[in-house]
């Protein structure tokens, strides 16, 4: 069975969890003898050997270069050497055109597309080749917009695509509920397949932690609370900072490390200063590699206070570095992770209560960690990929006939 997979990013050129989830799912699928070709909107060396990765390049374009982490900055270098930058809608439209050209000479059984950025291309392929399309929903516009309506153009693409999809995979019950609520899609069209994590993907740590200041302060009795993610409204960091002020009042030896960038960066920076906790909240900007891994490791508690989080891989990554988590109940990961603290994202008092409890009690921290580590060891992408493979079989035209 051959699957044409349409995606927007893969590590190391990923801005967040989407690329990581795609890569790990694909690796698990390849172990189930699924033949995969992954089409990306840009060129890069991914060092991937278990599937074919193809850049979808428009005609006359020599290369498409992704800049930094932003979704909306792609540089197109034309064959004549000229360059141009395209906005996100133009990129989505161009990706659709490129995929349409690309599939003319390709044979495959099913199209599996990840998130709205690739859904238009999936619909186009369905129209051209009359093949089944499976849409994999890692987040919907209402999540990204922090529970409001969001961008109407994106909303429309999602609504149309969900209506025309043969099958929809949601990364959590939370997301399935959102799709049903926001788009009126019947529940039996949507399969929940939780994301997972592969411990083997995590590189070994070197001895010297990048956050030496935090390590030194820990030896003086300070405790460190870490958040990693985009600094956008969806991630609920305003509430975390409001809680941080309360935490520091009750447990002054608490430091907060905020790793990431986004449109709220300066707003949050100013908020921390306004709350009088600017000395205890460290902002690092976007990080990857060692600086990212060491942030997980230096933490006593990882907090993911998202307003709406379809899945949320970071708390699982935190466990792999020996750090327990506090997650919002509005996250998909809270459905699968039993041994973590959980709080409604709006409940700042309770968030404060739980953070204070951990930073003042190493035994609570250690017991949480001991138990979530047991859960973590059982996690694998195998179950998820088995479920995905079953969906492929259900929709494989040749198998049905």
């Amino acid at each position: 069975m051959k699957i044409l997979m349409l995606g927007w990013e893969l590590p190391p050129h990923n801005s967040g969890g989407l690329g990581t989830a795609c890569l790990q799912l694909c690796r698990a699928l390849s172990r189930q003898d699924i033949d995969l070709e992954f089409v990306l909107p840009y060129d890069a060396d991914h060092g991937i050997d278990f599937m074919k990765v193809t850049p979808a390049q428009p005609q006359g374009v020599a290369s498409v270069i992704r800049s930094g982490i932003a979704y909306d900055s792609y540089k197109y270098v034309n064959e004549d050497g000229s360059e141009e930058w395209l906005n996100i809608y133009d990129q989505v439209a161009l990706y659709e055109e490129s995929v349409a050209v690309l599939v003319e000479e390709k044979e495959f059984d099913i199209v599996h597309a990840h998130d709205w950025l690739t859904f238009r291309a999936a619909l186009r392929v369905k129209a051209l080749k009359n093949c089944p399309i499976i849409l994999h929903v890692h987040s919907i516009e209402a999540d990204r917009a922090g529970s409001s309506f969001g961008n109407p153009l994106v909303h429309e693409i999602e609504a149309t695509s969900f209506a025309l999809a043969d099958r929809i995979i949601a990364v959590s019950q939370h997301t399935k509920n959102c799709i049903m609520r926001e788009y009126g899609v019947p529940g039996d069209k949507i399969e929940v397949i939780h994301n997972s994590i592969e411990g083997g993907d995590i590189a070994p740590l070197s001895d010297e932690n990048a956050y030496k200041y935090l390590e030194v302060m820990r030896t003086l009795g300070y405790r460190v609370v870490v958040n990693i993610g985009r600094l956008t409204i969806q991630k609920g960091l305003t509430n975390l900072l409001l809680s941080a002020k309360e935490v520091i009042e009750r447990a002054p030896k608490t430091l907060f490390l905020i790793v990431g960038s986004g449109d709220q960066y300066y707003e949050l920076l100013t908020l921390a200063a306004s709350l009088g906790i600017g000395d205890k909240v460290l902002f690092t900007d976007f990080q990857r590699g060692k600086n990212l891994r060491d942030a997980y490791k230096v933490a006593d508690l990882f907090v993911m206070p998202s307003v709406s989080e379809p899945f949320g891989l970071t708390p699982l990554e935190a466990i792999s570095f020996g750090t327990p988590s506090l997650v919002s109940k509005q996250s998909g990961v809270s459905e699968v992770l039993r041994n973590s603290l959980k709080v409604d994202y709006w409940d700042i008092d309770e968030m404060t209560n739980q953070i204070v409890s951990v930073v003042l009690s190493d035994s609570l921290r250690d017991e949480l960690m001991r138990n979530c580590a047991l859960e973590y060891n059982k996690l694998s992408w195998h179950d998820a990929s088995t479920k995905v493979t079953q969906i492929y079989r259900d929709h494989h035209v040749g198998a049905r006939s």
Binding site: A210, Y213, Y265, L269, A273, S274, D279, L282, T284
Partner: protein, 404 residues
């Protein structure tokens, strides 16, 4: 009524130690806050080379010639400890040119804090230490003991005047701000309220800004400004005794480039002004010795020479500024107790008011004068660098065992 009219030209020389791109990953790893690579826009050495060439050397050459040609020409200069250090290190030639100026005996040096800080508003002990450091430094480098005081950014209030009076200064400088002067003008000598001996000189901001800010503005109705037109304006004020022209030294050659004609204006000003009998130039001490105070000035709130607000809001107006400076001064007792001179000096360099000015978000979106003077892309970047350096100071305190 008086027959005598004096121009009191006072120039302020300062450069801070700008903080380099200093991240969380530098904190506790290295204590190098101020040394950016030479090609970096935040390189203090590079900026100093540029401003020394375009402004200090170019202007001092002309000032020396003006002093030689015009026996009546005099001026006053304040020069911070941080810029003297930088000149010693990176431009001995420019330092020599300042020494030559002071050696003429017709250039008076003005007292201030060594680190161009706002310490007066946070710690009297630290403030007095920095004033003393500055006094020692200028005695050593320029052979003069200052008798008139100016606080950073001409910040001033009644408390400062009382302090300066008790410290033995004969004069103090500040902004001639209209709400303070009310119906009066800045063109006289005044006495601060609650004092007896000390005298107050207030900047004539309109005339000063004609030179410092409007000189090169082609849209200004008075453009182009010439020395004879400017002298004529001053002559028309029949009652005035002294015109206090206070401005940044970098007005000449840096804020107004050579091409604007600013040096031609400067060179012609004494020639034009001294043509008339009774017209003179005086240093800040001379004007205080010559004229009696005409009234008492009461400044209960703090004023400065900055922005339309003329207050400290350019340095302390937003929470990033007001909290970070407070947090820095909160470390004072612990920093001093270490007796670690390198640490104490770094802590003092972080007090330089420019760091807080770079964090200013007032008018940030307009890309105005604040942006012009900042080596950072945004006020937030300035804050991030500063706080990472601040936390490194805390780390060093932990190494000394004085942070718990």
């Amino acid at each position: 009524m008086t027959d005598t009219k004096a121009i009191v030209l006072y120039l302020h020389v300062h450069q801070p130690y700008r903080i380099r791109h200093y991240t969380v990953y530098d904190t506790a790893h290295n204590h190098n806050y101020f040394e950016a690579p030479y090609e970096d826009r935040r390189s203090n050495e590079r900026i100093l080379h540029k401003v020394a060439e375009k402004s200090y050397l170019a202007t001092n050459t002309r000032l020396m010639a003006m002093l030689a040609e015009n026996p009546g020409f005099k001026l006053s200069i304040s020069i911070t400890g941080t810029i003297i250090e930088q000149l010693e290190r990176w431009s001995p030639q420019a330092l020599k040119s300042f020494q030559d100026l002071f050696n003429t005996g017709r250039v008076e040096i003005v007292a201030e804090t060594y680190h161009h800080s706002l310490a007066f508003f946070y710690s009297r002990a630290e403030f007095e230490m920095q004033v003393e450091m500055h006094k020692k430094k200028v005695q050593e480098v320029f052979g003069q003991t200052p008798r008139v005081f100016r606080n950073t950014e001409l910040s001033y209030n009644n408390d400062l005047a009382v302090w300066a009076d008790r410290a033995g200064y004969k004069g103090i400088l500040t902004e001639g701000w209209d709400p303070i002067l009310d119906w009066r003008t800045s063109n006289f000598v005044y006495r601060p309220t609650y004092t007896n001996q000390i005298r107050l000189l207030m900047k004539n901001y309109k005339l000063s800004d004609d030179i410092a800010f409007r000189f090169g503005n082609h849209d200004w109705a008075e453009f182009p400004l010439t020395a004879d037109k400017f002298s004529h304006w001053l002559s028309e004020d029949e009652n005035a005794t002294n015109f206090n022209l206070f401005m940044d030294y970098e007005t000449f050659g840096e804020h107004n480039w050579h091409e604007s004609g600013i040096f031609g204006f400067l060179e012609h000003l004494p020639k034009e002004w001294l043509k008339t009998d009774g017209h003179s130039f005086m240093t800040v001490s001379e004007v205080i010795d010559t004229f009696e105070p005409v009234d008492v000035i009461d400044v209960p709130q703090t004023i400065t020479w900055a922005d339309t607000e003329r207050d400290l809001s350019a340095w302390l107006g937003n929470p990033m500024q007001s909290t970070s400076i407070q947090q820095l001064y909160d470390l004072q007792d612990r920093v001093i107790s270490t007796k670690d001179l390198a640490l104490i000096e770094d802590w003092r360099r972080l007090q330089t008011s420019d760091h807080f000015y770079y964090m200013c978000t007032k008018y940030f979106n307009d890309g105005d004068i604040h942006a012009y003077f900042s080596p950072y892309e945004t006020p937030y970047e300035a804050y991030i660098n500063f706080m990472n350096a601040y936390r490194d100071i805390i780390y060093r305190l932990t190494e000394h065992g004085v942070m718990t």
